[in-house]
């Protein structure tokens, strides 16, 4: 271990320290992101209570199995309601792509290409083949591959790309909401029909009835 540390140059040590710092910052960032996601999912899971509330309060649902079956049906029905708009957006994107490919009679078209697709609107980099860094750790150099520009031939990518990104993200939000509600459903199924004897003493209850009589 000591030999490795001695063999490291000052540049390497500085680089390791910087990498460690970046790693810690990434961990904190992921922690915050996870925390926010968990809060959102908790908020989304509250919808499950609204969906099954009336049936539980009016005692239409009799037991745990019935509750899970009913809750699952309501959950999927609500998911359908939430997901149909993103699904329509995604389907529209695919219809445009199919029309484009059938008109050009070319089915190998990449709608995210940086030449004639959605990628033309973004900065992209590629590996140059050169390396930089110290004696132990080296990084591959990147060179700019594409600067944002607009081309008419990429019209299909400009429709397909946003459709897939917006629809896909929306659909994933609906799915995460579905997952959160499912977790809530199983959590509630454990507590709703629970009968607790905490603090109950049968002898005490008997004594009370006897003294009343």
């Amino acid at each position: 271990m000591n030999n490795i540390l001695i063999s490291l140059s000052d540049g390497d040590k500085r680089l390791i320290f910087a990498l460690l710092l970046i790693f810690i910052i990434i961990l904190v960032f992921i922690g915050l992101l996870g925390f926010v996601l968990m809060r959102i999912m908790k908020f989304q899971s509250k919808k499950m209570d609204t969906l099954v509330h009336d049936a539980v309060v009016t005692k239409v649902i009799k037991d745990k199995k019935h509750f899970i079956r009913y809750g699952r049906n309501k959950n999927w029905a609500y998911f359908f309601k939430q997901a149909y708009i993103p699904m329509i957006i995604i389907v529209v994107g695919f219809i445009v792509l199919i029309i484009h490919n059938s008109v050009n009679n070319y089915w190998g078209y990449n709608p995210f290409s940086t030449y004639d697709g959605f990628g033309t609107l973004f900065f992209t980099w590629k590996l140059s083949g050169d390396y930089t860094g110290g004696s132990l750790i080296r990084f591959a150099k990147l060179v700019l591959d594409n600067t944002p520009h607009f081309t008419v031939i990429a019209w299909c990518g400009y429709i397909f790309g946003p459709c897939i990104l917006v629809g896909g993200t929306w659909y994933l939000v609906a799915v995460s909401s579905l997952l959160a509600r499912t977790v809530m459903l199983y959590k509630r199924s454990k507590t709703i029909f629970e009968k607790s004897l905490d603090g109950y003493n049968q002898n005490e209850a008997l004594n009370n009835t006897n003294t009343n009589n």
Binding site: F29, G31, L32, G34, A55, T58, F79, F80, L172, L179
Partner: protein, 120 residues
């Protein structure tokens, strides 16, 4: 400092469990597509056979009946007694006259008599 360390530990926790969470979401997303298509076909069949598209569960209908019954019962009952009537409602009845109202009447009386004399 403690919150910073907590943040790092949470980050580690989420880094470890993130792949499982993502896997669950992906599986649900794929399964969701199939369920979506199934429900879409079901809805199309309901639409073309001229049936109700709401496709309510039997439990929902039962709940609706119970709640409607409860509402009708509430409406058929006599209106509840108003335990805290407003001042206006009290003045309408002769049973209650507030003391302040009485005093104001006594104070006003002499003035009205003078006005009557002036008119004459």
């Amino acid at each position: 400092m403690i919150s910073f360390i907590k943040g790092i530990l949470k980050g580690l926790f989420y880094v470890i469990f993130l792949p499982f969470g993502l896997l669950a979401i992906c599986l649900y997303a794929i399964f969701g597509v199939f369920v979506f298509i199934y429900r879409l076909i079901k809805l199309a069949i309901l639409f073309f056979t001229g049936r109700n598209l709401k496709n309510e569960l039997p439990e929902d209908e039962e709940v609706k009946k119970i709640l409607e019954g409860a509402n009708e019962e509430e409406q058929s009952q006599e209106p509840a007694l108003n335990l805290y009537p407003s001042d206006q409602e009290m003045y309408k009845t002769n049973e209650y006259i507030s003391p302040s109202f009485e005093e104001s009447k006594i104070e006003e009386e002499p003035a009205s008599l003078e006005e009557e004399n002036k008119d004459e």
